[in-house]
Amino acid sequence: MARYLLRRTAFLLGSLLAAAGLLFLLLRMLPGDPANALLSVGATPEQIAAARRQIGSDRPLAEQFWTWLTGLARLDFGTSFVSRLPVGPEISARLAVTVPLTLLSFALAVAVAVPVGFVAAWRSDRWYGAALNAISQLGIAVPVFWIGMLLVTVFALRLRLLPAGGFPRDDWAEPGRALTALALPVITIALVMSASLIRYVRSATLDVLGSDYLRTARALGSSFAGAMWRHGLRNAAVPVISILGIELATTFLGAVVVESVFTLPGLGTMLVEGIAEHDYPVIQGVLVVSTFGVLVIGFAADLVQRLVDPRLRAHLGRGRR
């Protein structure tokens, strides 16, 4: 296990470094000049040159890359070209919104999708099994921002139950207020995410329901519930967990849409603002952190899968993959 963990960590750091280099280069290949964000109509050529000097975008590329990379190694993400604020603390402030948003949506989606998906498969021959299937298909087709706007219209503008957007100024000082602010965004993401999850759970359950081992267990006298619990669940979980990992990563990266609809000061909106302003340190910082997050999620999904599935562990024990 230790060797496996070591190898995975090395892989993670290697990927991160490669991603950092790639995105640094790609960003510089984009047309546009970061100095422009600082200027307004009336700026003279001297002022434009001064702006470039100030943010260091006139330095050689290699030098800029090295400065950034050595900073990263010290967990220093540099300073925003535009706001002149250090990027690191701002990313952590934004993570305090995006991470709970992602995890809560994920938890809610799983809580909805697993039972619903199971019922859809178990009762696929009944009308409501088919109906659940159809509804989940519809859920996949509907864009997330539209669901968000719909929920805002109903729950914020009409019923006045929940705020239409925003996040408390003191963040999580009053958890109740923060949760209220996250309620609609969380439901929005969870609805969309559960729509596709339901389908995966359903097909995994269908596989299990038709399997020989389940029939054998029943023949040996297990109750349906008992056989499902001992054998079915574990087997169905393996493919679902890898999908969950991907879904979680997608939600984390896709939070940007929901964050804009609900004006949440999260990582996604930070990235959008950074891109609009050509604020390289901000874009790079956010992308490196997101890449790290996605790699960690993949790592975690892999680990959980190994814990659930003894076959994968057995390979490990023999030092093979």
């Binding site: 009336g42 702006a51 009053e174 930070m270």
Partner: protein, 502 residues
Amino acid sequence: MSSKLAGVLAALTLLVAACGSGTGNTPRGGSSAAPGSAATIEVGSLYEPQNLDNIAGGGQGVTEAFNGNVYEGLFRLTDAGKVENLLAESYKVADDGLTYTFKLRQGVRFHSGKALTAADVTNSIERVLAEDSQSARKSNLKVIKSVTAPDDATAVVELSSRSISLVYNLSYVWIVNAAAKDLTTAADGTGPYRLGAWKRGSTLSLAPFSGYWGPRPANGGVVFHYFTEATALNNALLTGAVDIVTSQQSPDALSQFTGNPDYKIGEGHSTTKLLLAFNDRRAPFDKPQVRRAVAAAIDDAKLLESVWAGHGSLIGSMVPPTDPWYEDLTSLDRHDVEQAKRDLAAAGYAQGFRFTLDTPNYDPHPTAATFIKGELAKVGITVDINVITADEWYTKVYKNRDFAATMQEHVNDRDVVWYGDPGFYWGYDDEQVTAWVAEAERAKTTEEQTALLKKANRRIAENAASDWIYLYPQIVVASSALSGYPVNGLNSQFYAYGIKKG
């Protein structure tokens, strides 16, 4: 729909709603309910400062939040467009117009506690003129030769030539504490509010400054809430999360507030002009006749009506009604398709021509460009719309002047003077106008200045230096409980100290 599923969904919704409202029973959006002077004013805006320094690219947002609220100048440009003394108690101009002596108001303190001295004033003016300053006003202040402080209460500015706009221009120069180190992320001014906290991407709060030299603000503080999208901003107003929207940019949303007794809609004068700016250096737009033809072919009133539904106005030139040298020149920019065709034929373009219109990708530019394309097709001109980002606009149009024509909104007041600068991006090169603009700046009296700029403005209108499509409306939507807020918001300023709730 399955009743079970509906039940599950309803239960989940209630659960989440309950766990939210159960803890604390919070007022929505955090607006404090206390009436009178203790109330905090929640302001909604689309313009978040990029940083907190107006000479380091802070942008429109920092002007909105800080001008007159956190920082004060020697003078103040009032919401009505008048210039009055602020930190300058009085001033004298020498007979040659080259020496200005400012007497400073006594008993003024910075938020950090330090008393205001003339050294702060000289430092504040010098930092706008400094090499690394990105102030948009820097070029207006180039005439300043030196700034000195003979004593703590007196500042003296020496000019290289007369500048009638000096006092006006100084209203944009923040007087900052000379000892303050970092003004891009912190603030130290003399205004009625001190900076509370700036949460990037979300809010900026201002708290009353107890040591303020003037009257206390009418409210207990201000919080600016920043939105990137007009719909979200209007939703916040509809749900009471904000009390006022500094500038309504979504005409379609207005109907949600009209006729609703909970809201007041105010329409003031803006200074933002929508321009179809020609590259006056390049054929075919180097010919005034061609520019006039294009202007005549476009029905400005129809576009304004379709974008703003009865709000906003036509001005026929670059000067908005709040500038002292305004005059109604719509008669020089009449919609007349037949005249446009005659002008085109006379200029040698009877068959029309084709050009690319560089169009910023944000509203209302793409809408306006599409409309213009349709209008010009009627006189045989083919328009290729090239949608670009603000950033590309700066590089391609503003810096490299690599364009035939472009759409752009020009937000500042008193900016007709750019037509006197042949080096400006649109390259209008007219010796007469250049001379008038320069003379106006050296004028001895405002009457003289006004007369000259009126002449310049009329001349550029006659030559259709650009096509001035319309003047934006300045619409402020506020909760009916609010009073004392600025309606014009000239140059994006938003004086918050007079706002009262209840």
